[in-house]
Symmetry: C2
């Protein structure tokens, strides 16, 4: 029944099971026991470990007959070295029946790599995306992985990818396979209440860009027809990812500023946790594009910038911040490919806003206003880059062809250069 | 972190992976091979087998190294006897690495039972819901089940339940467990083009009632707090099921009448297939209530009615039709519990409609107008029931306490009686 057309007619959709709400993280032992797990490794980072959330998750498991051990050696922004260390630890202390990641994207991504390399033979490089690695598909099924995000932004609980820096090559790349997707996402807004306002702002921009990028992504049915072997988890904008993105935008409209202003506002925290989940379910199937491609070198080549509100000992640009800095100019560039989408997104973000004379300016202006309100630095200049860094950043962004292929129009070096130069300051 | 409240704060959400679009059913062999399956049983009914869809699905599997056998003995509206026959066949001809259901809800539900009873020991009655059966939970994991719906309505591809008639007890009941949910739903609108208009109408009413019932269901956070053991797949209306329901209603608004009028209208068929999928993902987590509870005895106690457009040799009321016949009066009854929901649903179904003076009449009037347009019989009288049958129907509906518990207000015998009497004719 293959239809007589050279363009794609099929889209795919996958998601973890979900348990959402205050108190949800107290039941993980029950869910793991039902999956047959008896001995479980909890994967987290030292900062999250200090909140005692992972310890609490470990303790409640005993009630359900599940033995849990905590590994708190996750590196924020995982590297090949940090992943190897986590894998060595898990291989040395296994076997494990299941894994639980408690933390942000770094913990969840590390747990994905640990799951892959404790259930399958070989080394990290065998599975890393080509051309950096050998892009091997796992031969054996993975164990159950429960993701418990403690920051409202990552979306990693919904995706099939593990992002890492390969230190020797100075390149950010990933491992991507459908079997990496967590089995269950446990989203407990109560775990996010301690998030400082700066973290809420930055990770909220990540949610927003997930929603906006997948909503404006190249539509699945504009690609050439794929064989089943050619299908990838990120298949372009489709009716299901559109719906998640729209709903995430509505929730952000209602609660983003309130959650930054008052972290104790529980209703706003619940909305943000739900928005993060929904945007994750959307982009986890559609994909993201230019702002995320630019974010790789913006975060990866950081100079001296140290973000307020983050307890870090080295320079860093938080992921959500790095994504947001070129978003206004990226969406000005993509406007012409899908104008109605960009207008609709702006209207979902603020139904009361007046349309500007130049509609291409609608979404960018709304984003810069929001970023000023919530304290995001002013452009890539605000995190320490100057125009002399642009060629270097262009080169880094252009390496992310997997992401740029999801942009709604072709993207050249010159396009990225123009976007970066215009993003040196955003206001 | 359990919050200090006696009402529920947690909802759950599960779904199959999804492959959607014309041509999707040509790739099932690839997906099964990736899951490690080598020998697969295709479960279907004789009428669907006559369309050769199951045979075509079996043949393409060989390309991917998967050996497929077709069992075409599914009984439309499965009974304990028909399920036992299917299970015996599968046990006798196994072992099977995976199952593929091609057909409507009957084929998918039969495949769920076959999967359960070929991976777990015991008999059908061990797993059937209490008090009819022993409601045992499966001790062993099930095999992958791929559901390929050929009618746009069932939703069974998204749910955790298998519905059956227990012949000796003259009762319709089910088996319900999270592990029964299909692994993958392959929704290929090209398979639905041959559906006659009467089938499109009836199964479309099923989609519509899935969306309306889950949208108006009792909200998850109005129940008492549950322990993890007490959680059920149907947890009441929640922000995710609401979103699916709303989107299904928008698609039905756009394409239901067109799909009935012109079955060759491919865009309308795609919309209906997507609406069925989305409504299934909604009610598969929220649940359905009064119209579905009433449908059990309306279909189960059928007298002489034979539906036009259905190739059947015995009296029957098609499932979607049986659900729809009391829907207008059911939603008039539930209106007071969640008025804003009922109004919003009507507006999604027809954004151009004027609000009537009595808002309780808004949704019922819209439903009866639609049913007249698409040729649904006029009330339960239209399928052969008279007022003297009502007590019998009330008794049958009140047995469906699992469904009635999802209604947005308590439901007594007298309430059901009033709904049935008023539904003897709907216009």
């Amino acid at each position: 029944m293959i239809p007589d057309t050279s363009t794609e007619t099929v889209f795919t959709y996958g998601s973890p099971a979900l348990k959402f709400g205050a108190g949800a993280s107290d039941e993980i032992g029950f869910d793991l026991a039902r999956l047959g797990a008896k001995r479980v490794l909890i994967v987290t980072d030292p900062q999250i470990a200090a909140t005692e959330h992972p310890q609490r998750v470990a303790e409640q498991m005993a009630k359900f007959g599940v033995e849990a051990h905590v590994f708190d050696g996750v590196h924020v922004e995982p590297t090949d070295a940090s992943l190897r260390q986590a894998i060595d630890h898990a291989r040395g202390s296994g076997p494990w029946d299941a894994f639980v990641a408690v933390g942000g994207g770094s913990s969840i991504d590390t747990a994905k790599a640990v799951n892959l390399l404790t259930t399958n033979t070989g080394e990290l490089m065998d599975y890393i995306n080509a051309p950096v690695g050998a892009a091997k598909a796992p031969a054996q099924p993975l164990k159950p992985l429960v993701a418990v995000p403690t920051t409202t932004g990552t979306g990693s609980e919904s995706t099939t990818i593990c992002v890492l820096d390969v230190l020797s090559l100075k390149v950010k790349t990933g491992i991507s396979h459908a079997s990496l997707r967590p089995t269950l996402a446990v989203v407990d807004p109560a775990l996010t209440v301690t998030q400082p306002p700066e973290v809420t702002a930055s990770s909220g921009m990540d949610i927003l860009c997930h929603a906006l990028e997948s909503y404006t992504a190249r539509p699945y049915d504009s690609y050439d027809r794929k064989t089943p072997e050619q299908r990838v988890p990120y298949c372009g904008a489709n009716p299901i990812s559109d719906m998640w993105s729209e709903q995430a935008l509505r929730l952000l409209c209602r609660s983003f500023r309130s959650a930054v202003r008052d972290g104790e506002n529980v209703a706003a925290r619940v909305d943000m946790a739900l928005a993060a989940t929904m945007a994750g379910l959307g982009f986890g199937n559609a994909g993201v594009h230019i702002p995320h491609a630019n974010a790789y070198p913006i975060a990866g080549r950081v100079k001296e910038f140290r973000p307020p509100g983050y307890a870090v000992h080295e320079p860093m640009v938080p992921h959500g911040m790095s994504v947001s800095l070129t978003a206004p100019e990226a969406f000005r560039f993509t406007f012409s490919a899908r104008p109605e989408r960009h207008v609709r997104a702006a209207e979902l973000l603020d139904p009361t806003a007046d349309r500007p004379k130049d509609l291409a300016d609608f979404l960018p202006a709304m984003l810069t206003e929001l970023m000023q309100d919530i304290g995001i630095p002013n452009g890539i200049g605000g995190v320490g880059y100057t125009s002399s860094d642009v060629p270097d950043l262009v080169e880094g962004a252009m390496k992310q062809q997997r992401l740029l292929a999801t942009a709604p129009r072709p993207v050249t070096d010159e396009d990225i250069e123009r976007i970066l130069v215009r993003s040196l300051d955003n206001w």
